[in-house]
Amino acid sequence: MIGYIDKIKEISKGLLEEKKVDMIIGFRKGTVPMINEPCVAKTSADVDNFVWDSSCGINLANYLTGRKEKIGIIAKGCDSRNIVNHIIENKINREQLTIIGVPCKGMVDRSKVKALVSSDIEEVIEKEDTMVISGADFEKTVKTSDVISKNCTICMHRNPVIFDELVAEEVDEQKDVNRYEDIDKIEAMDSGEKWNYFEDMFKSCIRCYACRNACPLCYCPTCFVDESKPQWVGKSQDPIDIWTFHFLRAYHCAGRCTDCGACVRACPMDIDVRLLTKKLEKDCFEMFNWEAGLSIDKRPPLDVFNADDPDGFIK
């Protein structure tokens, strides 16, 4: 994927020079290893700062909400699906966008890499399929595909589903992956085990809401946790309030979540919040044969009424 950057720059510069867009949303090199920073380029000189590698995990669709400009945006498979969601949900117009699609091979999980070494990682240099990690007293080469995020290992849509330009040939989609391994495990637990599992999982949550804010789906002007009339949830570290936030947020993402993993990547406490939305993603897949964000011409199952609905309760 590191080979993409020249093409990304070429396309971006062309779009800006021809004034097809006012700005392009992409990534610039991060100040610490394994995280690049989302940024805006308005001139060709700005585009020179763009980078592309396996540390571009942040979902850029999140930066489109409600914008008025004509925008070029660099989009991996999952970003493109969240762009589709945004278009369906009227958060951005298709006509405003020039989507620069990036076939993706997975984004790195910083915690996985950190766990491989015992001291501070000072530098990571990415090669075609490997990464060279180094610190004061060590150097280690890892295969990038061994350290990509969990959601990327089970991703079925690595190629952008909607785009105007494509920076490289499409990559092979993954086959024979068990997408619901984690969920099956939790589903097999009895209610006591589930209780303990989730209690332990959310123990360290500090309610910063980074998971919510990193998620392109969470654009409500006032989130239910921030409402005061009525106040749906308390604001303290009371576990019930913490769980209420997480479970309700997950339900608000049902049929919309693309499993992009932005929520997990954002969490400063390494909480795998994705597990909740993944269960709902599984349910939508099994009940409605639905995967979110694949087409701008289809309404999500939870916002349509169908007279032929097999369930009688709604009629």
Binding site: S111, S119, S204, Q237
Partner: protein, 345 residues
């Protein structure tokens, strides 16, 4: 002040002794990271940490703290009366306080302890604590304490500074409170600081990044406030507030009443200038309604308003936590240097 040598096996027995007269806190490993926690009987602070994810702020003014309790049951004679919540302010010692966290106490104190107002929750919690520091022989790549008015061996704000000399510790008492703790632990073998200087300069050399503030100091608030770089700095911010929660020098909180049935509590919870709700008026007007304004507020407060108001440097000790935890890589070192190097007319 005393300088004591502590053999590593005596360290354990000393901690056991201290448990009789202090409530002990220290870093404990939690999954992949470390957190300050109350140490159970026989539990030792785990010194294999670089730094804790949350600072000692999580002990001194915890994220959620009950201030008052009340009853709404009119059958009770004292219903609807706010009663001070009972707290344990018996002596407490926190082990493994990194020098940056020690220094942070000095920076936040003027906010809680002013001529007009005394914040007793913070002050009582602070005053009952003996801060036992642990010098950083091996700072992280995100540390920049040496240019933020602190350093890996800084004693400011600590009562004792422990230095790990591999086979033993050197304990340097910084205050009489610290001396009292060393005696209570029966750590009484005299030591020397001879080899400490060498460790210190080695550690300082490992810190490779820095911030400069000389130009920020001389510029007016308005000049920096109106500069053109804020939009670019703020673009990626998702206003999650993580940076302020993990920061030892961020002190803001919000007060809430919570009822359950007929009883309730008045509590305070950490709050953050990065949240839109922080400045939302009852009218619905929000003076910092835009993300760029909130990002600017955070950096202006830390790097300019505080600097001007208290004349004791910036409101940042260079611990690097916000750099490590920010989900979108907004780096205060970069921002500070942009503010400082900008070509103001």
């Amino acid at each position: 002040m005393k300088v004591i040598k502590i053999d590593k096996q005596d360290f354990t027995s000393g901690i056991e002794k201290l448990a009789d007269s202090y409530r002990l806190f220290g870093p404990v490993k939690e999954k992949e990271s470390y957190a300050f926690q109350k140490l159970e009987k026989g539990q030792l602070p785990d010194f294999n940490f670089k730094n804790t994810r949350l600072s000692i702020k999580s002990v001194i003014n915890p994220q959620s703290e009950v201030m008052f309790e009340y009853s709404l049951d009119e059958k009770q004679t004292d219903h609807h009366v706010m009663k001070e919540a009972k707290k344990d302010y018996s002596p407490r010692a926190i082990f493994g306080v990194r020098p940056c966290d020690g220094k942070s106490m000095v920076l936040v104190k003027p906010n809680f302890d002013t001529l007009e107002y005394k914040d007793n929750y913070w002050l009582d919690s602070y005053n009952c604590t003996t801060f036992v520091g642990l010098a950083c022989n091996d700072p992280c790549s995100t540390c920049f304490c040496t240019s933020a008015g602190s350093g890996p061996f800084d004693e400011t704000g600590l009562d004792v500074l422990l230095i790990d000399m591999d086979d033993y510790y050197i304990a340097k008492a910084v205050t009489s409170k610290g001396e009292a703790l060393l005696s209570a632990a029966s750590w009484d073998t005299a030591g020397t600081l001879d080899d400490v200087e060498d460790k210190k300069s080695k550690a300082e050399k490992k810190i490779k990044t820095s911030v400069s503030i000389d130009n920020i100091k001389d510029r007016s608030i308005n000049e920096i406030h109106q500069a053109s770089f804020w939009e670019d700095i703020a673009f990626s911010c998702i206003n999650c507030g993580t940076c302020t929660y993990v920061c030892p020098t961020c002190w803001c909180f919000d007060i809430q009443d919570e009822n359950s049935g007929k009883s309730g509590v008045r509590m305070r919870n950490w709050d953050s200038c990065m949240f839109p709700l922080f400045t939302m008026h009852g009218t619905g007007h929000n003076p910092r309604g835009e993300k760029t304004q909130r990002v600017r507020q955070r950096f202006m407060h830390k790097l300019k308003y505080y600097l001007d108001k208290y004349d004791q440097g910036i409101q940042c000790v260079g611990c690097g936590r916000c750099i490590q935890s920010c989900p979108v890589n907004i780096d205060i070192r970069r921002v500070c240097n942009i503010m400082n190097d900008y070509n103001y007319e």
